[in-house]
Amino acid sequence: MEDKNTFIDKVKDSMSKFTEKVKVSAKEFWSNLKSLFVKGDGEKEQKRLSEKRRRVIRKAGIYTFLLVFAIIIIIPFYFMLITSLKDVDKIYEEIPPSLWVKFKDMMFINYKASLENFDYFVYMKNTIVVAFFATMGVLVTTILASFAFARLNFKGRDLLFLGFLMTMMIPGEMFVITNYLTVSDLGLLGKEGGLFSGLVLADGSQSALQANIALITPFMTSVFYIFFLRQAFKQIPDELYLAAKVDGTSDFKYLRRIMVPIAAPTIITITILNMMGTWSAFIWPNLVADDEKYRLITNGLRKAFSVVGTGERPAFNLQMAAAMLVTLPLLVVFFLLKKYIMRGVSRSGIKG
């Protein structure tokens, strides 16, 4: 009970902090706006004032621009939130759909009910495990490969890079069939024969380890992110590298000590994007995880709320409530890492 209260207090606290922030900004904006219309004396004062006027107008323009796009961008998320709090009959009967639910009509019970529909924690645990190892893999392979492409001179570099790029030009759907066969041939699907077939459970069915290998391995690298990080590395001036060479710093040390920290915003972005990939994956896990208890969160979500009978309809409210709960860990991660993305880089001291 106490925990709950402190949690609510924390939420309240942060809410009030936020409104305070908005208030302060609004006040400042308003006083700036007012000051524009205060008549100044003398030419110098006039000039100062017109400059200030320009600055405020520019700022107002920027905020208006951001606000307009923020509203456009947030609409679907808002739909998800509001739908998760509605009564299911309302969703089907309201024309047009209402954009607001009175607080007393909000069905917070939907969240509890949605959890009863599927093993949220089992799926979440699997997803976190797969996301962790896949992201680790992606980071290692991507950082090394991007460094080679961005900084090292080797024969056939551009050609190989082009070859990498070309793989992005074939739709991923084409890979699925062959990769399924590969995973099967590797003995990961509980079939006899293949490198990993020894890992099966006693009754010959797929083990958790096999399922995880099949789920993780194909996603331990990504051309898309190699390209991304290569570009980030290319943003780092050559002089730094040459200076380090002169100092006798090894390539690996340079990568670890200088390039990785400088490109940290990009690396964190890759981390978030890749985790999101695991969160939304459902075709591959559905194919290669034989047992439902090995599958990932989106599989759970789809199974719990998909309709199988002709004429049946999904309980959108529970589905959206579940989707919100699925999203929650991602949002937490995003909040934790956000400040690192926006930290910015100051490179003084490196150049010595």
Partner: protein
């Protein structure tokens, strides 16, 4: 000697990625190429039988298919309209976001939200936005005295439904691009800006002379991957129109099909030979994308230190 050593080192750095890519990317890719040369290939049978080889038969079939022409036309429209708009808009948003202090975190979170929004919610929201009777777009048009436009409902034309699809596509691409641009902007050394401040350089000049050039690798990245991604558009069509790939009442069926939609409709087709049609279409898409990417790189070579 030195060069050979550095060659070896580079390949070592590349080895982990290369190993994984060879198994899960290059091999299936070449397999797809191979399938285009088969007739009547039946991958459902354990021994994977086929009837004969052909060099161009499957390509001919795809290229003479009216549905493929439709898919090509739709894909080209999506690529050339949605990519430039979404790149420019997201760049502006990222630069604006990078230039403010107050509420920066809040805005940043909002621009991230599309990423964690459930696809069904996105579909519901856009159905609402484009509804003929009460949709936001038509209410907006109503302010200017315009009659309601049928975008996604009965009576929608290819043009109006394409507009809705483009808006949906642009919306769907913003979050990622904003994130990448923001990360790219953050990679830029503050010292450049400090120097500019000392010189009292005007902002527009800072943007043109410092920000854009230093961001150019990221701009190149976004442009190239966005074009490649847009050539592979498909999910947005499903999200907007469902399995019929067209608004209700619009014939022929699949009026808004894309090339990947075309490929997908053949992939899980159990009829022998269907998979080769899918592979041939994929190779055609590959060639189109490749040529376009070459042109793009060639054009941008002068301006971007790519």
């Amino acid at each position: 000697m030195l060069e050979r050593e550095s060659n070896l080192k580079a390949w070592l750095y590349l080895a982990p990625a290369l190993l994984l890519l060879s198994v899960f990317t290059f091999y299936p890719l070449f397999n797809s190429f191979y399938l285009t040369f088969l007739v009547g290939y039946n991958y459902l049978k354990p021994d994977k039988i086929f009837e004969a080889y052909t060099l161009v038969g499957n390509f001919k079939e795809v290229l003479s298919d009216k549905l493929f022409h439709q898919a090509l036309k739709n894909t080209v429209v999506i690529v050339f309209v949605s990519v430039p708009i979404s790149v420019i808009v997201s760049l502006l948003i990222a630069v604006a976001l990078n230039g403010i202090k107050k509420l920066q975190g809040t805005f940043q979170t909002i621009f991230f939200l599309p990423y964690v929004t459930n696809a069904i919610a996105v579909g519901m929201a856009f159905a609402f936005i484009f509804n003929t009777n009460y949709g936001l777009v038509n209410q907006f048009l109503g302010w200017f005295g315009m009659d309601p436009v049928k975008f996604v409902t009965l009576g929608a034309t290819w043009g109006t439904s394409m507009i809705a699809l483009l808006v949906y596509t642009i919306w769907g691409g913003l979050a990622f691009k904003i994130m990448v641009f923001l990360a790219g902007l953050q990679n830029i050394d503050k010292q450049y800006y400090d120097a500019a401040k000392v010189d009292a350089t005007p902002r527009s000049r800072v943007l043109r002379r410092i920000t854009i050039p230093l961001l150019s690798p990221m701009i190149a990245y976004i442009t190239i991957t966005s074009f490649i991604g847009a050539f592979k558009a498909y999910r947005t069509v499903i999200g907007m129109f469902g399995a019929s790939l067209a608004p209700p009442g619009l014939l022929p069926k699949d009026s808004l099909i894309t090339i990947v939609g075309y490929i997908y409709s053949y992939i899980y087709d159990t009829a022998p030979g269907a998979i080769s049609i899918a592979a041939a279409a994929a190779v055609i898409l590959f060639v189109i994308t490749l040529v376009f990417t070459f042109i793009q790189m060639w054009v941008s070579k002068k301006r971007v230190h790519f």
